[in-house]
Symmetry: C2
């Protein structure tokens, strides 16, 4: 797979922002943790926020067996999962050129229930917080029965990255108007222990490593 695979995922607007290599897609997918999944119920489309993780060539999406829309997804209704990372405001000299820095990935296809739900839950748990699966107590059969993890194959997709300076034309650059970028990032505060946490239980390795990695990414 080396690029978008259909007319449906060809970016028409701002085409110069489109990336076509799979590594660019994975970079966006691996940096996010909430996807908005479009699915249609009757005539009405919905955009559902869902926790997700990329596992090789599939997106694992997490929901509940009690959700009507999750069941539609699991039954293979046409779907679109979009992940958008907001990276800041582009402050141009005109309203027209003002915009945002973002990275956005879109995957089209049909989901199916994950073939190995326990393994999918492991992927999700470790995807959101690497190393956590080994620290939590084992998942019960009842919990597994109440969880619906669906997978969306990654084969029809597009990715778009906007990260440049404002593109004001020369006559605007000549004006006495400031222009630039206000870079945004997601940061984490100090871990807040649960109100019912028993005394003497230290912050686990998963949390320590995660916070260290986020801090490092933001510094870089």
């Amino acid at each position: 797979m080396s690029g978008p695979t259909s007319q449906r995922t060809q970016v028409n607007r701002l085409r110069e922002l489109q990336q076509t290599d799979r590594a660019a897609l994975d970079e966006v997918l691996d940096a996010g943790n909430v996807a908005h999944v479009a699915v249609v119920d009757g005539e009405q489309p919905y955009a559902l926020p869902m926790a997700y993780v990329r596992d090789d060539d599939r997106l694992l999406l997490h929901g509940s067996t009690g959700s009507r829309l999750m069941r539609l997804l699991a039954e293979g209704a046409p779907a679109c999962a979009t992940v958008t990372l907001y990276d800041g405001l582009v402050v141009a000299r005109s309203a027209f050129e003002s915009s945002m820095h973002y990275r956005s990935a879109m995957v089209l296809g049909r989901c199916q229930a994950a073939s190995d739900p326990l393994d999918a839950l492991r992927c999700l748990t470790d995807g959101l917080l690497p190393g956590r699966w080994a620290e939590v107590r084992p998942t019960t059969g009842k919990e597994l029965a109440g969880t619906l993890v669906v997978e969306l194959p990654i084969d029809e997709w597009s990715v778009k990255v906007s990260g440049d300076d404002p593109e004001d034309p020369p006559q605007d650059v000549a004006l006495d108007i400031w222009a630039g970028v206000l870079p945004a990032s997601t940061v984490y505060g100090a871990p807040r222990p649960s109100h019912d946490l028993r005394a003497g239980i230290p912050i686990p390795p998963s949390v320590r490593s995660f916070l260290a990695r986020v801090a490092e990414d933001n510094a870089g």
Copy 2:
């Protein structure tokens, strides 16, 4: 308007997280700047990331007249705009109870082209960066012709807020496993002047006020 107005916007899963007052909805909508808009083209739903702003009882969504999906929206195809703010990870003692802190708002309806596009562009510009409209050079007729702003009335909606500690049952609390929350927020770095910014142009009031307000919100 004091709550969700249809069965379609009744939250079925984790119903205790649903808020039903309009103020809660506006708080989420006013804190975000990217919506994911679901729209259907043929059988395929798409979730499109779009810059937006709330203006009283409507969402203004910004796109280009050249986009097929934007035109579908402007023509009144059924749509759903979802805004999700990610607030952190909930680290429970089991994978099953592990989740996220988030605030999410969903607005269902049909869009139409904004009646006064110039005013809509002003709302968007000042919504994303308050005070900026007065600082940029005036919008041209040609720019206006190339911009499509649609509005989605806010009358069928839902809002869900997850902000609590993990809800581990007593038998899990008794285990020697850490639990808590890793709170996340969006922060802005120092403004990066454009490479073509002429010397002697100071950072404008809009940018200064915006960064001060974000810093204050994050401190509070």
